[in-house]
């Protein structure tokens, strides 16, 4: 088992303390900050199987959407009829009381995790046996297919989307609502980072790396690669599903194609964030996500209408010129002066 370096721990503590005080320092940007943590979490969990295991999935957006729908519908379901709720559309005739809201909220989060994990288990068994680009294209199609299926389920609002329960009226004010979601995003980040940084240092993580570097060899060493692949996908799905639930509550309205199962936004963002920072490195997705989020906010503010063109160009530039990401770029330059032989991303021992 590889150890944490001192630098890792210092950086993590610095990031955590920054995260704790950030909403007090920048009260106007609480929503953007909560999205920043969510982005870090989805990038980290994509990297779990995209970077460490080498299974480049375009379809992790499925868990995101499934989690979002589960969180929304299970918050409504115990108290109101879902059919009536969607019938009412944008007209808010139903209101949760304080206790209803929060008990439903907890239930929704629970079912978001369960639904995402179940989806990952079912589809993992079916498609994780494929390799390389067949897997990638298959997951791409899966994401769109499930989005279209959700867009035709009448009880979940079909193509018109589903509005989530609103924050109970008269209960604390809007700042507390934002803080409530912010600290959940932050907590999710801490949980996700700690578990992933622990896992990639254990035997489990090494098996994932072995699968990336040569699956046939790993299998011939007696490793049950299928078990490892599915469990890693499930872990990734767990965190992405929770993120989906949180994003649903932050946005307040679920559109099946443009929010929940939008391969062209969250679906590709999680991949590109991991690649910008550096695939298969612990800090890569974190740095990539923060960097990308800042870039994204600037572009959505100042170049509205061109953001997808910019995103497409960024993807091409990153993939063509910096395939190893920011961290890899610096590490390669640093290493080339020491030794050009070691190609594996590793911690530098002092």
């Amino acid at each position: 088992m590889r150890d944490f370096t001192k630098n890792d721990i210092r950086l993590f503590i610095a990031l955590c303390s920054l995260g704790l005080v950030a909403p007090i320092l920048f009260p106007a940007y609480i929503n953007q900050l909560s999205f920043a943590w969510i982005f870090v979490v989805i990038a980290l969990s994509w990297d779990m199987q995209g970077g460490h295991m080498g299974y480049n999935s375009f379809g992790n957006i499925v868990f995101f959407g499934v989690g979002m729908y589960a969180a929304a519908s299970f918050q409504i379901l115990p108290f109101f009829s879902l059919g009536d709720w969607t019938e009412a559309g944008g007209v808010q005739t139903f209101e949760h009381s304080v206790s209803q809201y929060f008990s439903g909220y907890a239930l929704g989060i629970l079912f978001a995790a369960i639904a995402a994990v179940a989806t990952a288990f079912i589809f993992g068994n079916l498609i994780l046996k494929m390799r390389g680009h067949y897997f990638a294209i298959c997951t791409l199609a899966l994401g769109v297919a499930i989005g279209e299926v959700f867009a035709s389920i009448e009880i979940l609002g079909a193509g018109q989307g589903l509005s989530l329960a609103v924050w109970p009226r008269g209960f604390l004010d809007d700042t507390y609502r934002r803080l409530f979601f912010y600290y959940q995003g932050f907590l999710l980040f801490v949980l996700c980072f700690l578990s992933i940084s622990y896992i990639i240092r254990t035997r489990f993580g090494m098996t994932l790396n072995a699968i990336r570097d040569g699956e046939d060899k790993a299998e011939s060493m007696g490793l049950n690669t299928n078990f490892y692949k599915i469990s890693s996908w499930i872990l990734s799905a767990f965190f992405i599903g929770l993120c989906g639930a949180l994003v649903g509550h932050l946005v307040g309205f679920i559109d099946p194609i443009d929010v929940a199962f939008s391969g062209a936004t969250y679906g590709i963002w999680m991949i590109i964030m991991a690649i910008i920072g550096g695939k298969g490195r612990l800090w890569g997705p974190v740095i990539g996500a923060l960097f990308f989020h800042a870039f994204n906010e600037i572009f959505w503010t100042y170049f509205l209408g061109w953001q997808r063109v910019a995103l497409g160009l960024i993807i091409v530039i990153i993939v063509v010129f910096f395939p190893e990401g920011i961290l890899g770029f610096f590490q390669v330059r640093k290493k080339s002066s020491v030794s050009a032989l070691s190609t594996q991303p590793q911690q530098q021992k002092k």
Binding site: I127, M130, E148, V149, G305, V309, G312, I315
Partner: protein, 319 residues
Amino acid sequence: MDSIIQFFTTPSFLMQALINGMVIGALFSLAAYGLALVWGVMNIINVAQGDFVILGGYVAFYALGISTPFLEALQPNFFSRILLTPGILPLLSIPIASSILFVFGYLLYKVIIYRIVSRDLFTSLLATFGISLALQQLMNLSFGADVQFINTGLPTLFFMDDLVALPVVRLFSLILASILSVFIVIFLKKSKMGLAIRAVSQNARAAALIGVNTDRVYAFTFALNTAICGACGALVGMIFNLHPYIGTPYTVRSFMIVIFAGLGNLPAVILSALGLGVFEESADFMFGAELRLAFVFSLLVFVLVFRNWRLSKKREYLK
């Protein structure tokens, strides 16, 4: 359930699905063959294939939109009378779209694609995905978000007590698609460039050793692919409609057809394309049009899972 029974017991429905499916399948086979060509020769899966198709449609749409009023304003003479006969100008817009897209593909290769030819498949997947995203919004910005449709002015034929409709333009596209695929086969078999393309697809290193300029072959292959997409797109614009964001289903369909048929097998590509077309149209009748995309995409997942399951019996896998 009722609609399924009704579909299978009504001959006119069956006939309509068969005809429409064949026509659509012929279109899909064009895009699929381009995809297979690029995949086989350059080892790139072009995710932007569908967006090239839509771009070709827009080029044809605007070529028509500019030239028709211009010709009508001219003094009527022999040429303008021929050109303004219904069906002639749309027919001419196909080679125009095709050649403009050829130039576009060549430039795209020279700017981006040549950097990713030798890289792994994930890189090319992501890079072409990026191109696809950028292209979609660029089309949206320059052509507008409205649904467009190329009006050919051609009549519609009716059969079986007027229950089965066959617009002449669909017949056209079937014929054109077959002519184009025959042309592509002859080109690859007989011409010098076709020979070079086949040589590079078999072994790029060996081809370079005996003096084939692989870079030129790659550029030509990619441009040929976009030209095929252009022709396909012009037909798509005449038969269906154009919208900046509907490219991805065409990519998925072509990919599915290629997987089903295997690389470098033209008859199989055409057959599976026709099969997919008929299948999709029938599903349209039975399950309703709003589930059409869901059906196409889940069919791809199903085909892949099924093929992988069959291979796993031989202790192999898709890779």
